[in-house]
């Protein structure tokens, strides 16, 4: 019984942190979803960075569509994208569930 009460108490004590973690995860998730479903993002220079087109993974697999996709060969997801106007790179959101990420 004591064990059970202790578990409950521990859970109650940890719950704000767990909730906060879940909320943060959800925020990341939503941010990723938003980027993964948009055709372009804005660079700090103001120019659009297009996320749709034809892409080549570092394993040489070439695919068409959105940049933020798992490579079916190596499973990587790009982590940044370069603006062709100013040359600056923008970090992309990390994929949820701890997917393998790799800069392209």
């Amino acid at each position: 019984m004591n064990e059970f009460i202790r578990e409950i108490l521990l859970t109650l004590a940890a719950s704000p942190f767990l909730i906060l973690r879940k909320i943060t995860g959800l925020r990341h998730h939503i941010h990723f979803l938003r980027i993964a479903s948009t055709a372009a993002i804005a660079c700090t220079c103001g120019r659009p960075i297009f996320l749709v087109g034809i892409w080549k993974c570092s394993c040489n697999y070439t695919y068409r569509g959105h940049l933020l996709r798992h490579c079916p060969i190596c499973g990587r997801i790009p982590r940044m994208v370069r603006c062709h106007g100013c040359g600056l790179t923008t970090k992309l959101p990390e994929a949820p569930h701890g997917d393998a990420h790799r800069e392209r």
Binding site: L33, A36, G53, R64, H66, R69, A95, P96
Partner: protein, 535 residues
């Protein structure tokens, strides 16, 4: 993976469409950018107030309308091979000017044509305009037309090439004429130094007497006639030459000179025109806004004579332009066909850049039509100067060497695929320089009436276009109208052959009578002087 599933589920189709759009943009982007910049230029040109010339349409069907002022207040160059459409393009400008006649007095044009094609079409345009006008304006326009047709034997214009330019020094005029005649007189060989010397003194002698070059034979062969002229000549050097040295000139030299002149006078039309007493005052004609049509070609006019006539006319026009007041009220455009012939002699090569550089201040501009300029102008500096001073150009099918100046201005698409022989290798796209080189080389195989119009002051890039075809009648219908006008002395302020010959006979009689009287007076005075000295 759930996230990806969600994205595919809810945004997959939109993203697929966005990808297709983006890829299409990437393919068409450079092409569209190139078109957009051309379209912006064309819209800016169309927005300019005042008359404009419809120069053609772009490959995507947009009209190219260039303000007339942009074209006429500038040196223009139209290059292209035979049948490429130079004459038709030149007619587009002429047609626009002709439409403004006779109301517009501040703009006029002249045509110098050694082929006759542009000349005849210009005659047709004027005839067409005259037909549109009421009687009073018809007369006004007719009064502004001046025709010099060396091929016509029915309607003649006097063109005494020894009639000195107003305000020009005698030595300068004679040297200029001598050099033109020496370099361009049709013959297999150049005139010898000795022959040129004889010719020089004869030119001075005839010029002082106000006689045309057709009297050269008489000066060479008739002693009496020569003596009479010499006695009248105020130039002491010339008198001394004919008194002391002429007799010592070799018979061969005189015969060679005579033979060369005979080749010049082989065409009756040319002989009649050159035997006149007066010459057109191009300065006055330009200042008064006359429409001057000059034809140097004809079935009996040889190529050599044609070149000489073109050279003589050009040197007269050059002189007249610099005698015009600066910033005159009338802007004058000279449309010169076969303009490569304007760079044949060293003298012409030196004069032409001057003319193109400075004529602007005197309100005269040249539009040069030529097949191959780089071959005609061997001196790269002169060619460079020509290209620098030219403000617009129309390059039709022709030699890519001739269009080298245009290379940096050729419009690019950025989408020309490089041929790939390997079936499994990705086909690449040509780089800007490579594409430019390809476009430059393709000038040699452009279809008829297609080319590049480059308005240097408006855009760093040329516009590819197809020039429209003027609706001119063809065959017999065209010939009927043009031939009737060419032979009509009332058109172009000319004289009928009968009147012209009569006038010449009267003048000759008058002149000979007068000189005879002069000679009698001189002989009587001489006799009296000797008699007094003897007594």
């Amino acid at each position: 993976m759930d996230t990806m599933w969600l994205v595919e589920k809810f945004a997959g189709k939109d993203l697929e469409r966005a990808t297709a759009r983006r890829l299409e943009d990437l393919v068409q982007g450079p092409l569209r950018a190139s078109r957009d910049s051309t379209s912006r230029l064309l819209r800016a040109l169309a927005a300019v107030q005042g008359p404009s010339v419809h120069f053609g349409t772009t490959p995507w069907g947009e009209d190219v309308r260039v303000p007339l002022t942009d074209l006429v207040h500038a040196v223009g160059l139209m290059t292209g091979g035979m049948g490429a459409g130079k004459t038709m393009a030149a007619l587009l400008i002429l047609e626009r000017i002709v439409r403004l006649l006779p109301h517009v007095r501040s703009l006029a044009f002249g045509v110098i044509d050694p082929k006759g094609e542009l000349f005849e079409r210009a005659v047709w345009l004027l005839a067409w305009r005259l037909n549109q006008l009421p009687r009073r304006q018809q007369e006004e326009l007719l009064d502004r037309i001046v025709v010099i047709d060396f091929a016509s034997r029915q309607a003649l214009s006097s063109y005494n090439i020894l009639a000195r330019w107003p305000h020009a020094e005698e030595d300068y005029f004679i040297t200029n004429r001598l050099e033109t005649l020496r370099d361009l007189l049709p013959s297999s060989e150049k005139l010898s130094l000795r022959g040129a010397n004889v010719l020089k003194y004869i030119l001075v002698l005839l010029s002082h007497a106000g006689l045309p070059l057709t009297y050269l034979n008489q000066v060479l062969g008739e002693e009496d006639f020569r003596k009479r002229l010499v006695e009248k000549c105020p130039n002491e050097e010339v008198r001394a030459y004919f008194t002391s040295h002429f007799a010592m000139e070799g018979k061969q030299t005189k015969e060679a000179l005579r033979a060369r002149m005979e080749s010049l006078f082989a065409s009756e039309g040319v002989k009649l025109a050159l035997s006149g007493e007066t010459a057109p005052d191009f300065r006055k004609l330009q200042n008064e806004g006359k429409i001057v049509l000059i034809n140097c070609s004809g079935p009996t006019i040889s190529r050599g004579v044609r070149l000489l006539l073109q050279g003589l006319v050009l040197s007269d026009i050059r002189q007249s332009i610099f005698a015009r007041p600066t910033n005159p009220p009338v802007t004058y455009v000279w449309m010169a066909d076969e303009a490569q012939n304007f760079f044949l002699t060293k003298q012409q090569q030196e004069n032409m850049p001057d003319l193109l550089n400075m004529a602007r201040a005197y309100g005269s501009f040249f539009h040069l039509l030529c097949q191959n300029l780089s071959t005609a102008v061997s001196d790269g500096r002169i060619l460079e100067m020509l290209h620098t001073n030219m403000r617009w150009s129309l390059t039709l099918r022709g030699s890519p060497t001739d269009a080298a100046f245009l290379k940096s201005a050729l419009p690019l698409t950025g989408r020309v695929r490089r041929p790939e022989a390997h079936p499994f290798r990705e086909a690449g796209i040509y780089g800007p320089e490579e594409e430019r080189s390809l476009a430059h080389a393709s000038i040699a195989s452009l279809p008829d009436r297609e080319g590049y119009l480059w308005l240097k002051t408006r855009s760093p890039y040329a516009v590819r276009l197809r020039t429209p075809r003027l609706r001119l009648p063809e065959g017999a219908a065209f010939r009927e109208i043009v031939d009737a006008l060419r032979d009509d002395p009332s058109f172009g302020q000319r004289v009928s052959r009968g009147d012209y010959v009569r006038m010449r006979q009267d003048q000759t009689k008058r002149y000979q009578g007068k000189t005879r009287e002069d000679l009698d007076a001189v002989l009587a005075a001489d006799y009296r002087r000797k008699e007094e000295a003897y007594v």
